[in-house]
């Protein structure tokens, strides 16, 4: 049971930060940015490059966050702000093009070989019957702290209130004198930095590789849509739900039903399970699980 929780948490942390940023930006600009997962891939490579050239890991990740945030902000100002004038559908297609450009650029620059971090191997820590490594504890810890900070920012500060106002009714928010452009820029930077952080931490175990972004695309979007696009903390809940479903499906022993030998669902169905949940959610709760007073999609 404990192992189940640990596995769910680890998988959820892989997705949570990136889904959070995606949903947060969606709330303000109202288009799903497909390139968002590629910022995570970009961040992973920047961290690798810094770490390989001798920068301590934590500093390398911090630099990578700043660089990725700057890239996100730059793309927002130069590309997406203009595309948005033509409508969200155009902006989404544009973001697909940007995603491919980022991948092509990284492939040209870093090559197609995966870059594995050269980290010391630590013995896993036993918590009950569950095994986790120190790196994973830091990873989950960082994610949780960041999510708490973000929730506090969103619900207990003026900036947070302004962000929520802008997300739920841009016209009214602008009429009340909110600096919409300033907030959007801030959020774009922050979402990029968080994606860079998520990608970097992910790369500590999987290595920085060119498909890192594409591999995240479907689960991250599923989590964000499940939570209701535009609802950042909903995206985190979506990530948790997807992780829990995937973990449950792979670990339930159906052997008892047919008597005798352990019998598990083939792992090829692992992602099908989470998309079944997504499909059911879209059928019955099309505006996300946390659809309350505001329609978000």
């Amino acid at each position: 049971m404990l192992q189940f929780l640990v596995d769910t948490l680890l998988r959820a942390s892989d997705l949570a930060l990136i889904a959070l940023g995606l949903s947060m930006v969606y709330g303000l600009v109202k288009f799903p940015n497909i390139a968002h997962v590629q910022y995570a891939m970009f961040g992973a490579y920047v961290t690798y490059a810094m770490h390989a050239s001798g920068v301590p890991l934590v500093l390398a990740i911090a630099i990578s966050c700043a660089v990725t945030g700057a890239l996100t902000l730059g793309l927002h100002l130069l590309v997406f702000r203009r595309l948005l004038r033509a409508g969200p559908a155009i902006a989404m297609i544009g973001s697909l093009a940007v995603a491919m450009l980022v991948v092509a650029f990284m492939q040209g620059f870093a090559g197609s070989f995966p870059r594995m971090f050269n980290l010391p191997l630590t013995e896993p820590i036993l918590i009950g019957e569950a095994r986790v490594t120190a790196t994973q504890l830091y990873f989950v810890g960082t994610t949780v702290v960041l999510l708490l900070l973000f929730a506090m920012l969103l619900f207990f500060t003026r900036t947070g209130r302004a962000m929520r106002a802008l997300a739920s009714n841009p016209a009214l928010a602008a009429a009340s004198g909110l600096n919409a452009e300033g907030i959007t820029r801030g959020v774009a930077f922050a979402s990029g930095a968080i994606a860079g952080l998520g990608g970097s931490m992910l790369a500590l175990s999987t290595g920085a590789h060119i498909n890192l972004g594409y591999d995240l695309l479907l689960p991250v979007f599923a989590a964000a849509i499940l939570g209701g696009l535009g609802n950042p903390l909903g995206a985190v809940a979506g990530a948790l739900l997807i992780a829990a479903t995937e973990t449950a499906v792979t670990n339930i022993d159906f052997g008892g039903l047919v008597g005798g030998d352990p019998l598990f669902m083939p792992v090829a169905y692992i992602s099908a399970a989470s998309f079944l949940i997504l499909l059911l959610a879209l059928l019955f709760k099309p505006y996300g699980l946390f659809d309350r007073e505001v329609r978000r999609v």
Binding site: R11, T206, D215, E246, T250, P262
Partner: protein, 371 residues
């Protein structure tokens, strides 16, 4: 009509003379072709094989060349892409008019490329692809390397000999992985063993913890796996973290499976692979490779490429011609027995497939070493 046909023949003959004559005059070198993955995901393999090919060219020329002329191999890059490989093969066959082309690396590229060459009647020698479909390529295709069915027999016998009876099988959920998982299971069960779990994992996930834990529940004697470098690095790290390495791990194609895994995690794994070098000729080849490139071979495929080039040169000399049909006939003749390459004796069966191709038992001890 007759007149027209005559003029057609005359024109063709004239064209033929025009195009052939300068080539014959300029042909100071006798060439064969190679299509290798010099760029792209398998660039390491491609470059390694290219070095072996160049070493073979040096060797042939040091021994007097071919038909009294200088010998060369025209190397083209496949970019790890079937279309590029096909274009390269087309160029080699129709512009350079080489009698024999070797290559590529991955089966998905070798098969369409070789089908084209066979259709054109040009000789093809497979030096690295292990799909069983290679056997079905047809009349002008030769194969030097052990295909998957033989590989599965070898790894099943090897793991059985190591004392494993109840094993878990881990492979990617694609044509290659399913082929290996299915083939290994068949061979292993013939010997009396049992595959208790079969895990066909989805490529490109950030974690395989859930899958690995599912497998571990069946408490196997050993884990038999095959995986691509980067995914394998995640699998191996997580298997280590979850304590699954307390049971032995055996990799089918060990150096591919461990190429991106840190040494401290990889240590102690056993495995197999196609054989690389054999006997004194093999040792001499490795020494020459080391001397020329200041480092050893990185993959097991170089020996096959080296043999393919030397054998083609020998066939040209034997046929006293560079005509592809005559060279192919000479290759078949050489393959009747008695030809020994750096990968061991090369004998072809009726379908031009090597009989008893070599395999190696390996382990990881700081690097991949024989066991």
């Amino acid at each position: 009509m007759t007149f027209k046909m005559h003029s057609f023949y005359a024109a063709t003959a004239l064209l033929g003379t025009l195009s052939v004559t300068p080539v014959v005059q300029a042909q100071e070198t006798v060439n064969m072709g190679a299509v290798l993955s010099l760029t792209g995901a398998n660039a390491t393999v491609g470059e390694d094989v290219r070095r072996a090919v160049m070493l073979a060219v040096d060797k042939v020329n040091a021994d007097g060349g071919v038909l009294g002329k200088k010998f060369g191999v025209i190397v083209e890059d496949s970019g790890g892409n079937p279309t590029t490989a096909l274009n390269a093969a087309r160029k080699l066959a129709s512009v350079d008019k080489v009698p024999v082309v070797i290559g590529e690396y991955s089966s998905g590229i070798t098969l369409p490329m070789a089908q084209y060459l066979v259709k054109e009647g040009v000789g093809h020698i497979n030096v690295a692809s292990t799909s069983t479909k290679v056997r079905e390529l047809g009349a002008s295709s030769f194969n030097l390397i052990g295909l998957e069915n033989l590989g599965n027999q070898f790894s099943a016998a090897d793991t059985w000999a190591l004392g494993y009876r109840k094993v878990a099988m881990i492979a990617p959920n694609n044509a290659y992985g399913q082929g290996v998982a299915h083939g290994f299971k068949q061979e292993f069960e013939k010997l009396g063993g049992k595959v208790v779990t079969e895990l066909l994992y989805t490529a490109g996930q950030s974690t395989y913890r859930r899958e690995l834990q599912q497998v571990s529940r069946s408490a196997p004697d050993a884990y038999i796996y095959t995986a691509y470098g980067q995914e394998s690095a995640v699998l191996n790290r997580e298997a280590y973290e979850l304590g699954l390495r307390k049971s032995p791990w055996y990799a089918i194609l060990l150096s591919m499976s461990l190429s991106d895994t840190p040494a401290n995690i990889a240590n102690g794994q056993l495995g197999m692979e196609v054989g690389n070098v054999y006997g004194d000729a093999g040792k001499a080849y490795q020494a020459a490779f080391n001397a020329k490139y200041k480092e050893g071979t990185k993959t097991s495929y170089t020996g096959y490429a080296y043999d393919a080039v030397l054998m083609t040169a020998a066939a040209m000399n034997k046929a006293k011609s560079t005509d592809t049909d005559k060279v192919q006939a000479a290759l078949k003749d050489l393959g009747k027995g008695g030809y020994v390459g750096v990968t061991g004796p090369i004998v072809f069966d009726a379908e031009r497939q090597r009989i008893d191709p070599p395999y190696a038992k390996l382990k990881y001890d700081g690097k991949v070493v024989p066991r």
